[in-house]
């Protein structure tokens, strides 16, 4: 059963600490998305990659957020330093890059205290 895997599922950290969230897209999918979900803003697209190249990261605060795909099986989203306003659920999704269904992971719930 192919699925997008995100780790960790939950993360509590102190303000100022670095946070790294990981995503394993479905094998064969060449597009990876990062979304942030909050009560106030809903689902916001932070960044997305196609064939490991960043296509759009305009939704991401550049000063503290960074997204990479070291290889086709791993996408990372880093926050350094983290702030309480970063508390949210971060979702990764992947698809085949041809407007097929985007599959979502179960998310990483981040709490910054």
């Amino acid at each position: 059963d192919a699925r997008v895997t995100q780790t960790p599922r939950h993360k509590v950290t102190e303000m100022g600490q670095e946070v790294t969230m990981r995503c394993q897209p479905i094998l064969g999918h060449n597009t990876v998305f990062w979304y942030r979900q909050t009560m106030m803003q809903g689902l916001e697209l932070l960044a997305y990659f196609r064939n490991r190249a960043p296509l759009d990261d305009s939704g991401m605060p550049k000063d503290r957020f960074s997204a990479e795909m070291p290889d086709a099986t791993l996408a990372t989203l880093k926050i350094q330093p983290s702030e309480p306003r970063d508390s949210a659920v971060y979702f990764c999704a992947s698809d085949r890059g041809q407007l097929t269904e985007a599959f979502f992971g179960q998310g990483t719930r981040l709490t910054v205290v």
Partner: protein
Amino acid sequence: AQSVTQPDIHITVSEGASLELRCNYSYGATPYLFWYVQSPGQGLQLLLKYFSGDTLVQGIKGFEAEFKRSQSSFNLRKPSVHWSDAAEYFCAVGPGDSSYKLIFGSGTRLLVRP
């Protein structure tokens, strides 16, 4: 600019009643449209999608949606709601070109009365 509007934040229906969730989009060209469902603590699951062709699309779990270009709408319907349908529903639009990215509406939370 692309945008998706879901005007209803919450909807409550009785089990067995029919359901319609509204979605309006703003996009210059033919959009690609999706409905996703999110259960508490879970990721999003695709219910159905519209790319082209028949404007009435069938999805999983008995859901359907109708694309109406003249109204810029893509409303989701179900003839008889089950208690397990209680969840949050998101409409999304994707432009379909090389800059493709999925833009979501703010969601509609469905509550089902026994």
